[in-house]
Amino acid sequence: MAAQEPESTQMTPAGVSRRGFLFTLGVGLNAVAATLLAIPVVGYVFSSFRRELASQSWIMLGALENFPENQTRLATYRNPYTRPWDGKTADIPCWVRRLTGEKFQVFAINCTHLGCPVRWFAESHLFMCPCHGGAFYEDGSHASGPPPRGLYLYEYKIEQSRLWVRGGRLPTLSEPL
């Protein structure tokens, strides 16, 4: 228990005690400080709500001769959105289907149902998903099972007889590749 301080009861001309003024000042000061602190913290944690289009960029998948016509092959690339401590997680696979000449279809590995890795079966020309049994035809269209659409397709281009795709994010239904 602190002894009652005499000045606490002394009124200023405006009728406000010094203690009351200090308390109000303290609350106000802390409100300002809390706001100033919250802005960077919230901005830091919720930075995802700012659109980041830079996450997509062109990635080289390899020379054209690596992809024979009428075949579907697995290709992998190092994800452009990467940090030094990503380890193996930044190695992203995708399925490259070369039709003829410079006509390609590059599919994301992720099933359109819930993102599990689909596997290509060259004998039956089907992609099958191990999680909930989704299946896709060789052109990526939906064959059976729960997936709501066909496989996600990468945008691709051919430059200097190499195949490039535009990637960097995990494809989802609301934001495909």
């Binding site: 709500f49 696979p93 890795p117 191990p130 909930h132 729960p146 995990l170």
Partner: protein
Amino acid sequence: MLRKIALWIDERLRASELFASTAGHTVPASAGSWFYVFGSGTLFCFVLQIVTGICLAFVYVPSADEAYTSLEYLNYQQPLGWYLRALHYWGSNFMVGIMAIHMAQVFLFGAFKYPRELTWISGCVLLLLTLGMAFTGQIMRFDQDAYWGLGIGASIMGRTPFIGPNLVHLLLAGPIIAGETLSRFFTLHVFVIPGLLIALISLHLRLVLTKGINDYPVPGRKVRKETYAEEYQSLLKKEGVPFYPKAIDKDIVFVGVVILGILFCAAYFGPKGPQGVPDPTQIHAVPAPDFFFLWIYAALALLPPYMETFLLLSAPVVGIALLFALPFLSNTGEKSARRRPIAVLGVILVFLTLGTLTQMGTYAPWSPEMEAWSGNPTPAHYIQGRSPLELQGALVLQNKQCRNCHSLGGEGGLRGPALDGVATRLTREQLIRQVIQGGGNMPAYGKNLAPQEVTALVAFMETLRPVDVRAAHDSTK
């Protein structure tokens, strides 16, 4: 001398006073029941999780690059590392399990009714936080299951209208699963959620002290807002006992059994995983979640696609809202399960549903068996004495991955019907149509089979019937 020191400390700390007013608070003698042990059981699991979790954090490296190596190190190099990992894993299983029993008991005993609404609601928040710990903990075991589990979480989030992509980004701490994702989940698992858990547990226990533990329900003794407080006080006066030392005995016994159970399971079954380096290019992964989320995994396979997104996004919201609203929907009246048949049926229904889905999740009949076509043998009696065409068909059936979804002789996928005896169900024409056009969850093979392959395949399938059962036939012919 020791007593003197203890008294000296107590005079300053007043610990014995605090102890008498908390652990020694008065409870109805009827609350010293075996049904009332599950709350303290859950609490001690949490304490054990903190202890083993801190031990693991001494060694574990929360980096996408090195987490897996550090888990392997814990398993094989760090003395007793495997056992601490096993304790933490089994502790989580026990915690979720006992918490579920605690919740069912509290519901069946009407303990959520007036005046313990807030106790129930804080318990619901604890349930969600504990499940949050279970999910983030599964990610700490940074293996292929963790990697694709994150993908599944992101794919669900990605279905949210308007802000889906932002939520995915927020969950993964980036546009894709990478180094920062694990850091984010580590922070949640080790700082954020445990902090919230401790705060909510304090609130939960505080409410048990202020509003009293639920009196053992008696059929016919109804809760009335006007009289309940008075009745409870007179009950305490009549047959009240201090929780410590009079009503705590069964809790102590149960906690001991639980800890021994965890110690035993950890020693006998060992730690879980890690199962495979989290390298997405290892596309032969067959991801499956931990035990407590198997029912969600099953539900996701069985929901009709047209209502899937709607249910995925609305069911959790509705379910949680219902849980929170429960004490207000049924605020007074009968507490005893003997007079609340719908409540009893509800609990049975929930446990049956979760149990069935979990059980189905353990063998996932909806998933193709990816190696069945190359790995499973054709039963000998299906090939003996067959014509060359039929044998060719048996090869087609094998080589075209039919067995990934269809079993033969009990081996193969369960996605489609077993093909043993298919000739008794489908005629030759029906078989041809089914193979070429697909349908009923089967892809169309028309483009992927040469006509002679279809002929051979159907010829083989026509032989698939018991000798004493007639083949399916078209009665118009």
